[in-house]
């Protein structure tokens, strides 16, 4: 162990390949990934897959309203009580869900990382203030606050994303701050400071790469939460009535007595889609967790 020896780092590309191999060794991660890819592809092709305009009121050949039709070749999942094609609504509903999930994930990890890094890096008053803010936000009941915000800001997908982001960032911020506190004790940070690196250089070049895996983890967890929240908000009637989403379909079915008419073809598929997408998010973050914290894997 002479001080002059250099540490040999594995080549970057090989590191990535091992990481990917280890990631996909977890069967959950594979399943999660497959589900996501399928839904993303379906979401892109939705316009082409939907045989009808999801809001169009359809009529049968003899001029009758095509209401509450059972599944058939023409309408794979049947029609709603107002003669709208359920399958077309279902595939068009992929888009808002993915939009909400992905944008909220980006927002949560960005805001959580920013607050966590600022608090942990600068410490002192900044830390105290930001952590008190975190406590307050964690004291807000989640769904009630989203509803109140949705009612006050108006119903739209963007507002749902906004509410999810401002409620979910504290979890990420707390963990990232804790991670930063240990990181700050490491020698390479001190070395950077001694050589006169600016705050922004230390944060961007030395700290962020070490924090990134954690912020991605919290981002991936938020995807599911955001999709579930959007569905709940729509179901409670505070959603955008012009966007066909799975939550909207469920609310429509509930309000149109689909339950007592036993129209399972109407209200089961949207729920199953939500289960698949959200569970896929859980599976993905599980595989990801194994990758960052290999010790946890038992």
């Amino acid at each position: 162990m002479d001080g002059g020896s250099t540490i040999v780092l594995p080549a970057k590309r090989r590191g990535l390949r091992t990481a990917l191999r280890r990631y996909f060794a977890d069967p959950y991660a594979v399943v999660g990934c497959v589900i996501y890819v399928v839904f993303i592809v379906l979401g892109i092709l939705a316009g082409w897959l939907a045989q009808y305009d999801p809001t169009e009121i359809l009529f049968t050949d003899d001029g009758q309203l095509a209401a509450s039709l059972p599944p058939s070749a023409a309408h794979w999942l049947g029609t709603t009580n107002l003669g709208r094609d359920i399958f077309s609504q279902l595939v068009m509903g992929i888009r808002p869900s993915l939009f909400v999930g992905i944008t909220a994930a980006v927002g949560v990890s960005a805001l959580g990382t920013a607050v966590g890094v600022l608090a942990g890096y600068f410490g002192g008053v900044v830390d105290t203030l930001l952590m008190r803010l975190t406590d307050v936000v964690l004291g807000l009941p989640f769904l009630p606050f989203v509803i109140v915000l949705a009612a006050l800001l108006g119903p739209s997908l963007q507002n749902v994303v906004f509410s999810v982001v401002i409620l979910l960032w504290p979890n990420a911020a707390r963990i990232i701050r804790a991670q930063l506190l240990t990181l700050m004790q490491r020698q390479f940070i001190e070395a950077a400071r001694v050589t006169g690196a600016s705050h922004s250089r230390i944060i961007l070049v030395h700290i962020l790469p070490n924090i990134l895996p954690l912020s991605l983890l919290y981002g991936s967890i938020s995807v599911g939460w955001a999709i579930l929240t959007q569905a709940s908000v729509s179901f409670l009637g505070f959603g955008d009535q012009d966007t066909i989403s799975w939550g909207f379909m469920l609310q429509d079915a509930y309000a149109s007595q689909a339950l007592s008419q036993a129209q399972y073809n109407w209200f089961v598929p949207p729920g199953l889609c939500i289960v698949f997408v959200v569970a896929a998010g859980f599976f993905l973050s599980r595989g990801y967790e194994n990758l960052i914290f290999p010790k946890l894997k038992q």
Partner: protein
């Protein structure tokens, strides 16, 4: 002692901050809260009188002082719509919500602890292979959708349970106790409580399983094995007991969080509780009522977080050392 005082002060601070955020949100955000209430046909004078009745003609800072003062007295003002004291309205539905939450939580934690321990014991078996994805799927399912499916099958399909509400219309009870212990109430409680339970059991189950796995590697379990104790005794008396501890904290935290999540379940089953009252109040712009219901839920949440924190230190003295 210092720790408890600090935690309590902290809790009061969080509640004050939440109350302030709520006050500002309802008054500063675009849109006049009185528009929904005031009829355009009212004369200016009538309008002024109503504004005066609700204290809405005062300057903002004075409204805020009045609001905080009333809060300290446990008063949330008058409901815009029903013209009844918000506090009374909340207290009348609170037992429904608390009962629903408690029944569901206890069932969920009993089930979760049992099955979670079993999964850890029979590690790698069929139970685990099928069980874990299934549990994750229940965590991924929207609560209201689980409720809708149960309603369609058990209420509208086979007709075993009523489709909504907490008691049959027209039912009269001599006392509250008679009401909450009546067969009628319990029959109404089954489906919403079961829905909540399905959603809630995942967390204690997964938690119990990982705790068990961790505890099973500890020295006292190995010691018990060396003593030649039967596997059953080791699992139940030694491992499971110790693995249960973190579930107590999770229960307290879960209680606070569930109260917020009840909103959707109560709406699906038309359960006359705090959550549904909040939804109705928000959609009809009854701001005093919405504010009151929201603050009530937040107060329970924050209190439960405090209790969880305290319980954590009491049950596991190793944690308490690092505090102060």
């Amino acid at each position: 002692m210092v720790f408890y005082a600090k935690r309590l002060a902290h809790m009061v601070f969080v509640l004050w901050a939440i109350a302030t955020i709520l006050f500002l949100m309802f008054r500063l955000l675009p849109g006049d809260p009185t528009i929904a209430y005031l009829d355009p046909s009212f004369t200016g004078e009538q309008r002024q009188m109503i504004l005066h009745d609700f204290g809405l003609d005062q300057p903002l800072w004075w409204q805020y002082v009045l609001f905080l003062g009333n809060l300290l007295h446990g008063q949330f003002g008058l409901s815009f719509r029903q013209r009844l004291p918000v506090t009374d309205m909340i207290l009348s539905v609170l037992p429904n919500t608390l009962l629903l939450t408690l029944v569901a939580l206890i069932a969920a934690y009993a089930f979760g602890a049992l099955v979670g321990a079993l999964m850890a014991w029979k590690r790698g078996g069929a139970l685990e292979t099928i069980g874990i994805p299934l549990v994750l799927a229940t965590r991924a399912a929207p609560e209201f959708w689980i409720g809708m499916v149960l309603l369609a099958v058990f209420a509208f399909g086979v007709g075993w349970f009523p489709a909504g509400g907490a008691t049959s219309p027209g039912a009269v009870f001599t006392s509250n106790l008679a009401r909450y212990s009546s067969a009628d109430f319990l029959r109404h409680l089954v489906l919403p409580a079961f829905t909540l339970m399905i959603y809630l059991q995942g967390l204690p189950l997964l938690l119990m399983r990982s705790n068990m796995l961790e505890v099973m590697g500890e020295e006292f379990v190995i010691m018990a094995r060396m003593k030649g104790l039967p596997e059953r005794t080791i699992m139940l008396r030694h491992a499971a007991r110790n693995a249960l501890l973190p579930l107590v904290t999770a229960f307290a935290l879960g209680f606070g969080a569930t109260l917020g999540g009840d909103v959707v379940v109560e709406t699906v089953f038309s359960w006359p509780g705090l959550g549904r009252m909040l939804v109705d109040a928000v959609s009809s712009s009854d701001y005093p009522l919405a504010q009151g219901a929201f603050l009530m839920i937040a107060a329970v949440l924050v209190t439960m977080n405090l209790l969880a924190d305290i319980a954590y230190g009491l049950l596991d003295p190793r944690v308490a050392h690092g505090r102060r």
